[in-house]
Symmetry: C2
Subunit: 185 residues, 2 copies
DNA sequence: TATCTCATGTAATCAGTTACATGATTGC
DNA sequence: GCAATCATGTAACTGATTACATGAGATA
């Protein structure tokens, strides 16, 4: 039920059309909340009906018209109320862990290429995060250079970086275990 | 689409009824895949119809009858095929990260109690994992004492432990940031 | 007497994905 | 000429949650 809130945060950071939101959900916000454009359009219409967002039709030349959404006060209020609600524990869906345990009933070596591919994906993501950090927060060590929003964005990014580091180290552990089992050690 | 496979792994590790599976999903398996009993019963019926599992009615005295499920060969085959499929990147749902960025548009201090509660939950989980590790894998350092299934279970558990450690460290980082912002530093 | 555990289920609803559709413009 | 980008949508479906129901024995 937090897609509404993720959209609100994104619109508070910068107003935009459904299409633009969908692209943000592919990039930055998609790091911690995914959504397809169909879902975004549907939720935006509901949010507009509830008065959480305002829509403004913008005509463009050479491009289709678009509806630019921005957060309205009732939306801000709803966000503030949500911030004060208890954080329910997140439902976990860790497919790779299921696969690793499943490997005990099949050939463990069969899983190695997939885990390697997974590891590469996380390494690439870590590199992108570190690049983004150097680009967006070069002076993070100097006090007083970042506003509240930037400091909060940075601490979320640091979480992503640490998560990727931890995951890569763990996948190396997994690979070592799988290779040992494959070699009969 | 991996609930079927998670159930299969669990039934291969040990046959059991829908009710028992639901309890395992509350405990061990729930660490990386959650499911309610309603969903488990529904999926079990489908799996039985597909021949992935076999059911045996077991009468008990003093307790209701139960249907004990065990994995059948077509289920094993499906699991082996699934292991060889590409691992699609998992959809991320990180509500706390959304909240942290939302705090920029509200009072950052309002989030502190919730983050503290979150941190306590992760610390408790880490303690449980470490206890489980000492109980189930006391001789993990000595080669030749664990079979393939145990070694794979252990590497998954190590992942959980590292994830909790990383998360606790990050939540401390988040709390420090929120407290600095609340104090106007 | 009341609550907890064991055991299985139905019904309604919500969230999210996949597939398909439309139509103009820009770049190769 | 073809693919990609911009822009918004409908329809069908699957996966998952919430609420409710039943009923017996065990425990406090």
């Amino acid at each position: 039920m937090a897609l509404e809130h993720a959209i609100l945060v994104s619109l508070l950071e910068r107003p935009g059309s459904g299409y633009e939101l969908a692209r943000r959900f592919d990039r930055s916000i998609g790091r911690f909340w995914t959504a397809t454009h169909q879902q975004i359009y549907r939720v935006l219409r509901r949010m507009e009906a509830d008065g959480w967002v305002r829509a403004e039709e913008v005509a463009q030349d050479g491009r289709p018209d678009k509806k630019v959404y921005s957060a309205a006060q009732p939306g801000r209020d709803a966000l503030a109320a949500w911030l004060r609600e208890p954080v329910e524990p997140e439902t976990v869906r860790h497919e790779l862990a299921v696969r690793i345990r499943a490997a005990a009933f099949d050939d463990p070596a069969a899983l190695i290429p997939e885990v390697e591919r997974h590891r590469e994906g996380h390494a690439a993501l870590l590199a992108r995060y570190l690049l983004g950090e150097r680009r967006d927060f070069p002076d993070a060590g100097t006090p007083g250079t970042l506003d509240a929003g930037q400091r909060l964005q940075h601490v979320v990014l640091r979480g992503g970086i640490e998560y990727e580091r931890m995951t890569i180290a763990w996948l190396d552990d997994v690979l070592a275990t799988l290779r040992e089992l494959a070699e009969g050690r």
